[in-house]
Symmetry: C2
Amino acid sequence: MLTRKQVQEAQRKALQYMEKAGVVLSPKDRENISVADFGLSDLERQGGQILTFFNTDRISAKIIVLFPWQILPEHWHPAIGKDIGKEEIMRVRWGEIYLYVPGEPTPHPRGRTPEGEEGNFTVWHEIILKPGEQVIIPPQMVHWFQAGEHGAVIDDYSSTARDLQDGFTNPKITRETKIIES
Amino acid sequence: MLTRKQVQEAQRKALQYMEKAGVVLSPKDRENISVADFGLSDLERQGGQILTFFNTDRISAKIIVLFPWQILPEHWHPAIGKDIGKEEIMRVRWGEIYLYVPGEPTPHPRGRTPEGEEGNFTVWHEIILKPGEQVIIPPQMVHWFQAGEHGAVIDDYSSTARDLQDGFTNPKITRETKIIES
């Protein structure tokens, strides 16, 4: 869970990153940045700041902001009904990310996972993405990613997003973020 | 048709617009801007400059650049096989566009069609889109759009694009652009 103050602080910072990256926002967008801690209450190390431009029954687009070294925890987009699972294309606008997918583990990867959490990160084939670079993540593929030292701003294009139904490796994760008004 | 020189000049100008709009491009993107005259050989008034980031069998994203008052001619995205037609979301990054869709014709619209071409523009319900504003264009909906006096840079998100199979109101239009090496 996060306090309202933590959420507001993360929203404010995410907005600064988006502006630095040249993301053009409407006044409504500015109010719509969501902050996800994945139920881990450790936003600085694991979480994400997400602005959804739209999410129809066919397509979706978001901006994802990661702060320096922040991790979007390992997950996948499962088949749901007739949907074979979300197809996602990540394109970096600003900063740098380290994306991990199934395949030959990369020796000396740049990603750094929190101590004691090794079991929650099972794929280690590294793809480094810099501004203007993009990659397709097929449906159901397990993946996680982490921003580099300056953080990152990502254009995230996909088929319909059903975030609440994503699968996560870490059994402690819940996709909904609880906010406490303290 | 266009001469190679016209194409190169339009590509060069489109790149300038994208840079002005803060679009982050890879070296490959810079070589991949396509110029469409819709077979009308009148690029300045009717045409578009398009950079496709990706086009999978589910989703697609493009950047569309329109020069000042340039028109993307009236068209629609038909059903093809199991696809009910392309769903498209246009979001303006820079400049301004006047989008026309079916509905109550807007009195004194801002769009200006070329003389003698009135019959090729049948929908006149105007939606003005400025930076950070977006609109969903449902499958099969007839539409056309025109940039304002400064031109426009548009993020174009959609389901799979099958441009060559789009329908056009103007019977003279062919979606492929012929380039003559002169």
